[in-house]
């Protein structure tokens, strides 16, 4: 028998009896970050391949959700900080060995890109921008002025904004290349961030980066599939999703094989999911509802059975969110000592 106890009466909030320093704010950000990364990746990919008219939901409409997800995600991250007034210290230095530092700077790069992407397509998405509400129109008037024109009844107020819009519209492929690289870094760094904490055996696997990337891209493909009104585009994203889900299932199985072939702390971490307290939430909600059932539905859809597209899409999004909640909560319970 072996019993290891702290006998001096330590009872630090969030550290004892189990570490629980990251709460709901972090999984919400990880989900929104992965979603935004995937949305921007697909938008940029089709722009580079010249298919922005053919797959116009993916390139023009879905990116509206990217800045929204990023702003909400960044707000969640800010709420998680315990020394909030000093958050600006993140941007006074870049530390290449800290994945959290990369993340802070990548977000600084991707957020403006996502706003610029949406703004550059705004004339196509909403040619008639004025609403019936006086207050909303007043807010719009900060950046935009009305114009007499039967097609597009508005224009940017300031000249440098109009010139910038023209510059972006002439250099879409260049912007798309930068966006693709930035979105892949955004999608993968969240997993690399967790895997850099060698003190949490559940997270300390190099598969986590690519697993989070695949999961983020899969949620974005599901969103594109849901939002698109073009059946060809829905079929395309359905096929993307099938491939991404199969890769994700493969990575999850491999991750567990790796844990079980590792040291005792990793085996204990894997046992949390193989009979421990996270068994049901992982295998039923994340793998079952989030991956396997949508996979079956999408394969059936391709064979001709018609299922409302919202169903697999919502399941994939919920599965992605619960995956991050489970990983963050379970990871903090795993440890080397005591």
């Amino acid at each position: 028998m072996k019993e290891e106890l702290i006998i001096s009466g330590r009872n630090i909030p969030n550290i004892d009896p189990y570490l629980h320093i990251w709460h709901w704010q972090i999984p919400i950000y990880l989900f929104l970050g992965g979603l935004a990364a995937g949305i921007l990746f697909f938008a940029a990919l089709f722009t580079i391949r010249g298919k922005s008219e053919q797959w116009n939901t993916a390139v023009k409409i879905t990116p509206i959700f990217a800045p929204l997800a990023l702003v909400l995600g960044l707000f969640a991250l800010f709420l998680d900080l315990k020394h909030k007034l000093y958050f600006w210290q993140l941007y006074t230095t870049i530390r290449l060995e800290s994945p959290m530092s990369w993340g802070a700077w990548v977000l600084m790069l991707v957020s403006p890109i996502s706003f610029v992407w949406v703004a550059s397509y705004l004339k196509e998405i909403t040619p008639k921008i004025w609403t019936n509400s006086k207050i909303v129109n007043l807010l719009i008037k900060i950046l935009i002025k009305p114009v007499e024109n039967s097609e597009i009844n508005w224009e940017w107020k300031w000249k440098f904004v109009r010139n910038f819009e023209k510059f972006i519209q002439n250099n879409r492929v260049g912007l798309a290349w930068i966006t693709i690289v930035a979105s892949v870094i955004l999608g993968v760094y969240t997993g690399i961030l967790l895997s850099a904490f060698n003190a949490r055996p559940l997270w300390n696997t190099s598969l986590l980066g690519i697993l989070f990337l695949t999961s983020g891209f899969s949620t974005a493909a599901a969103l594109n599939m849901w939002l698109s009104k073009n059946p060809e585009e829905r079929k395309l994203f359905s096929r993307f999703d099938i491939v991404l889900i199969i890769i994700e299932l493969f990575l999850i199985v491999h991750m567990f094989m790796g844990f079980l072939a590792s040291t005792e702390v990793q085996i204990e971490a894997a046992n949390l999911f193989l009979g421990g307290e996270f068994t049901i939430s992982f295998w039923v909600f994340v793998v079952g509802i989030g991956l396997v059932i949508p996979l079956i539905i999408e394969i059936l859809e391709l064979k001709g059975f018609h299922v409302p597209v919202a169903i697999p899409a919502i399941m994939i999004l919920i599965g992605g969110l619960i995956f991050r909640f489970v990983m963050v909560d379970a990871g903090q319970i795993t440890r080397y000592l005591y």
Binding site: Q89, R95, F197
Partner: protein
């Protein structure tokens, strides 16, 4: 200069004077602790029952995961290998807490992350850390490992020792004499 600590587990009685001294010296908030005492009971009565008592704290590692993961550089290493946190550079993100295998760090109620500092303010005046100074069984040794005449260096040469979780790769600098 490489500061390190050696603690004789055969002489430690688990009185927790080191815990109270540290809390008093460093104004640690109530309920929080920069160091703590662990008791390990192993084996079976009457054949091989064993008891080990350890006073643990931040190990001021040589290969610190906490300094590596800090996004602002608030966690840093000073002369002597002591790991410190600059309070007004810390954003309270908790990355260092996640990366420490010894659970040595804690979030201070004021927002920054805090931990054992080897009483660097006492070292600057030529004193030993508070915990080492008050130990009633004198089982704690502190000094410079690079100086072969310091009591830490001499005790490490003469006794068997172990470190905590060496498989975590952190190269901790607290040696438990067994």
């Amino acid at each position: 200069m490489r500061y390190a600590m050696a603690i004789d587990t055969k002489k430690c009685v688990g009185c927790s004077d080191c815990v109270v001294a540290c809390q008093t010296e460093n104004n640690v908030p109530i309920g929080y602790a920069r160091d703590w005492v662990v008791e390990v009971v192993s084996g079976q009565y009457p054949t091989n029952l064993e008891l080990e008592i350890r006073s643990e704290r931040c190990n001021h590692c040589d290969n610190t995961p906490c300094v590596r993961c800090c996004p602002t550089g608030a966690s840093h290493i000073v002369e002597g290998g002591i790991v410190l946190v600059t309070h007004n550079e810390c954003i309270g993100c908790g990355a260092c807490i996640q990366s420490c295998p010894y659970d040595a760090r804690y979030p201070h109620p004021e927002g920054y992350v805090d931990k054992c500092t080897f009483c660097v303010h006492r070292l600057n005046e030529g004193l030993k850390p508070a915990c080492v100074s008050v130990c009633p069984t004198k089982c704690m040794y502190f000094g410079d490992l690079d100086d072969e005449n310091s009591d830490v260096s001499k005790i490490i040469e003469s006794r068997k020792w172990k470190t905590l979780a060496p498989e975590a790769g952190t190269q901790p600098q607290i040696y438990f004499l067994v």
